[in-house]
Subunit: 256 residues, 2 copies
């Protein structure tokens, strides 16, 4: 079993050498810039770790893991645009639109989504791509609720904005490992808990979201509860989930 | 064989009742607005006519035809944004971002692309979706060349911006009709000629593009040549291509 850091290295290597559609031409610049190392790569690592825990092969899962990261990156590039959150910085560097202009950043985001689907289609069956686009639609719905101010139900909002891609990362790992659908529910429930944990810790580190809503103490409680439920889900799985357990611990304790 | 107007009605009915992912919530507003009747629907009509000419079933081809139209609509919504062409009007109405705001229009475009892929995946095989996303990537590459000012080679630019979706419309029709790949080349060549015809007439009606480059007379000559080659392609096909022939005539003679 590969440790999280080894899985992360595998993701970085795969993304660094990912072939893009040649017709994209000079748009490759902003696409590569947005995909450069700097992110946590938590979604693709989760996908790979689930695939390996469930008896699948890490190399076989890499295109699916990369597809999830491309969808996440597409959402960041579009989110940072002036039309959305208008963030000039991302991961301590200028956002794609600041470096390349708004038009190229918009198109780079579009291309990242299309390339993600192309990766998902390399599996020769429709299941991986279907899970990916359905999660993407959920995420987009969450982003729209966010900018439209429909934020009263923060649990639903986060389930869409963050949870859907986390659950899809798990689902894609299971799909690659050919875990029958009837056995997938407890794994997916783990993915949902991990999404809640990730987002709640994010809010704690940024002092927004659930911290603004419930206060710092309640937010910490929510994170700890989600971590506990995620660990309990793993313990109930008939698989070697040591690496996934390590992921839970890291997400619970992270400070960046 | 259904006539172009009947095919168009079938497309309108299908799009009007198309079910969107429920998580999109209120984003359905700008998505439906962008999809409302008013466009020529030439790409989906082409897809349906090719499917029927090639021995396939129109109803079976409708999801693929709609997927092509959704990709086209996604590209229009994003193209109209201030970050791109900054067009306040589309088909005589206010653009989506003027009515709903830039953020919702951006997300509506993203959702249209994802929904297009979801439609393409309903066929249970990966071929339809793969052709759709590969054409989409080519189109995005063309859009980037356009905004980056890489417009010296107008033939290549139009082959990407317009041609790729036209050829995909043909390819999807063939895919639904299960035409073996070895027999597809002459059909696809027809699609390319039709794309050149469509775009050249567009430039003539707008007095830009190839008209600016070569003058009005040369542009008309290019359109007539493309129409003649498209008709010749049809005549060489072992199929009833009367409806496709009518499409060529309409595109050659259109004044809007």
């Amino acid at each position: 079993m590969l440790a999280p850091d080894q899985l992360r290295d595998a993701v970085e290597r795969y993304l660094a050498t990912l072939e893009l559609a040649p017709e994209l031409g000079l748009l490759e610049g902003p696409i590569r810039y947005a995909l450069e190392p700097g992110g946590k790569r938590i979604r693709p690592i989760l996908c790979l770790a689930v695939a390996e825990s469930a008896g699948g092969d890490v190399d076989e899962a890499l295109p699916a893991a990369a597809a999830i990261e491309l969808v996440h990156t597409f959402s960041l590039v579009h989110d940072d645009l002036p039309a959305m959150d208008d963030d000039a910085e991302r991961r301590g560097r200028p956002s794609a639109h600041v470096v390349f202009g708004e038009g190229p950043a918009l198109l780079a985001g579009d291309a990242l989504l299309a390339e993600a689907v192309r990766l998902a289609l390399t599996y020769g069956t429709t299941g991986i791509a279907r899970e990916l686009v359905e999660a993407t639609l959920g995420m987009i719905g969450g982003q729209h609720r966010d900018i439209a101010g429909e934020t009263e139900d923060s649990t639903e909002l986060q389930a869409l904005k963050t949870g859907r891609l986390f659950t899809a990362a798990v689902g894609l790992g299971l799909g690659v490992a050919r875990v029958p659908e009837a056995e997938q529910a407890p794994w997916r429930a783990f993915g949902e808990e991990l999404g809640v944990l990730f987002q709640t810790v994010d809010d704690i580190l940024d002092a927004d979201g659930v911290v603004e809503e419930l206060g710092a103490e309640a937010a910490r409680g929510r994170a700890d509860d989600a971590a506990a439920r995620a660990r309990a889900r793993l313990e109930a799985l008939p698989a070697d989930t040591a690496v996934l357990r390590e992921l839970v611990d890291r997400l619970a304790e992270r400070t960046v």
